[in-house]
Symmetry: none
Subunit: 226 residues, 4 copies
DNA sequence: AATGAATGAGCATTCATTCAT
DNA sequence: TATGAATGAATGCTCATTCAT
């Protein structure tokens, strides 16, 4: 058992070293340029050895995505801890995401990657990392709801997903189109993101005039429940 | 002249046939699996022949993206024409996007692809197709603004970008996570999307309580204007 | 007959236009970049039409080589006309070649190309263009021989070939290694070429001490006559 | 250690086998016809495997060129060792080159290839192989100079370049035009080459009448020194 | 546990030439 | 005489994964 433990420590270290190397490569050359050969070379082990620690390239990316999501959760916690105002906390989640995108670009790329690609199975730790984030966000939303600073019809868990989708999409567009943003609108990434955040937050507030009954929208919503 | 016309018709047809084949391949195997060899084989022409009609693989994808965007614009127009209510029209844009995603999945993939990838140059018809969509959406928002059914501080063109980013992100998450959606929340894609639309629309309404001065959010916004 | 004549005039013009275009392409992009498509495009005729005037790409290069050799002969004549001294005339041939290389680089490339490649058949005009140059050079050497300013054992025609081979080789090395020439020896192309010319001319002079009988060299020469 | 040695032996052998195969292909079909697919097929390994031993096609050609240059140097040494006469040694260099061309035609092609092509970077072993040859030839010339059997104004290193350029050019013409040589002059390659060697050697001898002052040639030489 | 040689299908692109019109 | 669409073999190179040692 002792031996096993020592072994698994060594194993853990190599596992980490492989992820570190892969992260470096992505940071330097981008996710697309990641290859098993490069990883093996960087860690100074044989290509075959990498497969002793990770079943496939996908698993390495998965491993890094776990890291990335942990870091994102840390960002969320850190930003939310700055205020006690439940609504502010929600805003802080968005801003945490923004700064995560700006400061941890590699991680953001990884998190987005998993959002963009169908057919990537998430299980085990990877699924958990996603769950932890959801849980945290849900908690923040639930708290705001309990304290009645946001609409009462909101389903916290679902709303978390919506937030997530919107933020991912916005940051994607910020990433892709920041040139146009600057050129045509004279807006910085932050200003643009501000518009988005303001929009979303404003949509949560309870003093909203609800769409009139019988509107097309209502009909569509009804329909969608079928 | 007749001959010339006939010829250019034949050419036009092959051009179309190539795009059709490429579209089929993407529909069946995904955008990543698209290759020139497959296209040639599907059209039953030589590989070199494909290059008589398209300068590169990128041009084929570009050609399909033009198709996709045209179709998306058609969706927008069709859905918006269903109502005269300016706010409803905005909602309809979101729903048009949703049904575009559901019904024209390949096209949606193509449109998203161009959103997700930096460094893809857009020119000529491709750039125009993007512009036409922006123009249309901007017009709808501008109209709602003029009619005072949405906040007056909205910048229509910028808001169009925000809409676009959010919708892309949400549909991405719908695409990737619809299993979880069903499993954990018992929600259909449509219901989930509904929550999103309601959220966004609600955020546009003028009778909004603005975030209190001095809130963290305000500070960040101020900051971002520097 | 008149019609035929007119036709062949028109034909001649197109023939010329094709060569002109090919020459431009080689001048701009190099011999390797020459392609039938580019030629056709440049002349604004169909690809197939080019084949009505030239049987193959090789024939176009052959046609240009004829031009190039004509120009080279003109250089030879021009440079030789500058002096009446028969030895000087020989020197002038070398210098004509040097300036041909410097000033008509495309033509030089073509002339060299035919020297470097085995299996390129030369017939008709192409063979003649080579013959004319040989004849001219042979005449110059023969004249110097008759006037006893060079060794009497020289076979003019053969010597012409030797000159040609040496000059081609030297210019090739000048072309390839001019950087080293400048860097390691501080010599310009001209200075280097000067050393070569001086060497060669000096080898032609009659007051030479011939290699001693019985030397290895003599043996090899004897051997070679077998 | 044994194992490692055996392994690296096996690797060395495959490396050699690839070069051998490439050499065969060049010998049979010419340098231009060399392709990675052909090499792989000839060695009966997968295309990708070739890339485990050579980074690129250019590296294979480079590897063969090293072989070729080594062999050429061996020829030089062997031929020069046949005599102690310093002038004879110079002649032997030319004859070594001739027999290298005749007997190791593929290698000659490779050596010429590197002379003819601009923009081929030479480094490491490849650069060294070139340097060793230069050094050897320079030594032979320097020795002859020191012993006063050739002109004292000769710069050994530069002269080596001139020799090399001339020999490359002559052998090229021998290669290309040997049919004409036989047909029109009734001369064998060897006889022709003899004329060349005699010419060159004769040009090195010190008892030379220098070109008269004021001749065109002198002017050009002066000019070139500016 | 570790190796690293081997695989081989796959990629986008080129181009001299042909031939039906 | 002129067209230009079509061909299709060929190019150098990549890379996730396997497996005998």
């Amino acid at each position: 058992m002792k031996i096993k433990h020592r072994k698994s420590l060594a194993k853990e270290m190599k596992h980490t070293a492989i992820l570190d190397a892969a992260e470096d490569i992505i940071a330097t050359e981008g996710l697309e340029a990641l290859s098993m050969s490069k990883v093996a070379k960087a860690v100074k082990i044989a290509k075959g050895t990498v497969y002793l620690y990770f079943e496939s390239k996908e698993e390495i990316i998965g491993g890094l995505t776990i890291r990335a999501r942990r870091e994102l959760l840390a960002y969320f916690k850190e930003y939310c801890s700055r205020t006690n105002d439940p609504l502010e906390k929600i805003k802080q989640i968005f801003w945490a995401d923004f700064y995560f995108y700006k400061e941890k670009h590699t991680y953001h790329e990884l998190v987005s990657f998993y959002e963009q690609n169908t057919g990537l199975e998430e299980k085990g730790e990877l699924a958990m990392s996603s769950y932890h984030i959801s849980q945290f966000v849900e908690g923040i939303i639930e708290d705001a709801k309990r304290k009645k600073v946001i609409r009462q019809d909101i389903i916290s868990s679902l709303q978390g997903f919506v937030f997530w989708g919107m933020a991912v999409g916005i940051l994607q567009i910020v990433n892709t189109k920041h040139d146009q943003l600057a050129k045509y609108f004279g807006k910085s990434e932050k200003e643009f993101y501000s518009v988005f955040v303001e929009n979303v937050i404003s949509g949560l507030l309870p003093e909203k005039i609800l769409p009139a009954q019988g509107s097309v929208y209502q009909r569509v919503v009804q329909e969608s429940k079928k």
